[in-house]
Homo-oligomer: 317 residues x 2
């Protein structure tokens, strides 16, 4: 059976990074050495994906690799940061060459798409889980935070909502055709890094929708010290969502479902046209769904429960 | 039951970092924002500690928190890097307030001792496991690597060896007095950060002894392209090790046991006296255990098996 060192060497070591990668010393020593660019701040985040909590254990390995990186990169997108490097901590219950090869393929492919260099990692024995630390760069004045929203701002979301919850529902019903748009949304979300970069200097506040629209909106409002009025009819629903779940459930999924990995942003009216123009150039919708106002709380929606996706509450799967 | 957000807020959020911490934005947004110092490279590493593989599940929670951070910081020590920041990804099987409080105490206490700021984290449900990403700084010319060893260098280790394996053996025999020096070595190792800093500019090569002396020596020799002659009688044994294991087993533990978290360094003869003087000022032994020579391989030791501590081989616990 292959040793830890052999596993790392075979599947988790990327090709030697080029001179522009900012990796003077890559995988293979006690630490990797990275060269941050002068004048930039480092945006860092870590997310763990645990089998049968964050993804089905029998999901395709390639999707698990993609998804574990995507959910972390989504946090960089929400800060308006440029993705630079990542570290992976992988726990494996068993040592399956074909599974690992597919997992690594999904991970490395998204690294390549997003310009992210895998700089190090750790492999251990345990139930299947992947922790990915991402490191990006953003200039101090350009970073998007949750706390910048102002009364009068237009509240908007990128892309479409409810696909995460819809895809999970479909998977649980036995759908296995990964070409289905909802399964794509659930198993292979695309972090909105380019949108985050494009909204620098325009958006007042941003957060990614990983816990569900209402839960993440609540975080943005609390950090910004404002309230919001939602136009719930305006929510952009993921392709096929109403057909699969029915109109009512689809709307609930868009409001409360987790794992959408879209950006929720607040944009001042004066910057709105430019923000839409920039995202349209990326073939990405930016849909207004409400406005921010003085005060607190959310009006304009009626839902059974506002709770987002949280672990330890049993709502996670 | 407390939610993920409440757990994070209660136990894992440190006190607001001061102005010198280099954390313009700490826990509470999608990412933390860090301010690297100009001219420094970033040394980064991640290590996962899984219950009943890397530590006994019934070890004191405070020691588990300390240890999970210590093993990652040991990698910074081996690069001669100054510890700055860390991220914690914690998986918990159940939500136990007292356990979490003790775990957090052990983690935060070592953060404080080592000047490391917890900048973010993630809590999920799963078997007990802790992944800690550490980030340190080192100037490009000062970094210690595995690959700089040269023929003629003196091979040396900090502190004492075999305590990790000895402590584990003691724990397995039922010893629970944490004041026992071997249990201290196993459950509460102290990363040799100050030694790593002191050896900058003196040592040609360094690695931490996490997989066992012979396994890590092999990594250093391979990276440096040299061989070594060991004086196995010179190995500094951890306090109490021979009494507990007997002379032969104690020597085997020093050669092949894992989890010692001492530094193995190669120092040119001209720098030797200064290196010993600097570590003596830290009340830390630096013991010569052999020399590097042209060629490859290790002579001077006779062991049953040279394999170090690897997962997936069943030698881990």
């Amino acid at each position: 059976m292959a040793s830890e060192f052999e596993l790392i060497a075979r599947y988790l070591t990327p090709a030697a990074p080029g001179p522009g990668a900012g990796v003077p010393l890559g995988v293979g020593d006690d630490c990797a050495l990275l060269a941050p660019r002068p004048g930039q701040q480092l945006a860092v985040s870590v997310d763990t994906s645990v089998s049968d909590i964050h993804f089905p254990v029998d999901a395709p390995a390639e999707a698990i690799g993609h998804r574990a990186l995507a959910v972390s990169l989504s946090d960089l997108a929400a800060m308006g940061a440029e993705s630079r490097w990542c570290l992976m901590a992988l726990s494996l219950a068993r040592n399956d060459d074909a599974w690992l090869a597919a997992f690594a393929h999904g991970f490395h492919a998204l690294c390549a798409t997003t310009g992210t260099v895998l700089a190090g990692g750790d492999v251990s024995r345990g139930e299947l889980a992947v922790s990915v630390t991402v490191m990006g760069e953003v200039s101090p004045e350009a970073a998007l935070t949750r706390g910048g929203g102002q009364a009068g701002d237009i509240l908007a979301v990128t892309g479409a909502l409810g696909g995460g919850a819809g895809g999970l529902a479909l998977w649980q019903r036995g759908e296995r055709d990964l070409a289905h748009p909802l399964l794509q949304r659930y198993l292979k979300p695309m972090p909105r890094l380019a949108a985050g970069l494009a909204l620098r200097g325009l958006a007042h506040a941003a957060i990614d929708i990983s816990d569900g629209l209402l839960a993440d909106l609540d975080h943005l409002l609390t950090a910004s010290g404002v309230g919001a009025r939602l136009e719930s009819d305006a929510l952009p629903l993921a392709e096929g969502l109403s057909d699969e779940l029915g109109e009512h459930e689809a709307r609930q999924a868009a409001l409360c479902g987790g794992d959408d990995y879209e950006l929720l942003v607040s944009v001042p009216p004066a910057a709105w046209a430019e923000a839409q123009r920039r995202l349209a150039a990326q073939h990405l919708a930016l849909t207004p769904i409400g406005t921010l106002h003085e005060g607190s709380g959310v009006s304009g929606v009626s839902v059974a429960g506002k709770q987002g996706w949280q672990h330890f509450r049993g709502t996670a799967s």
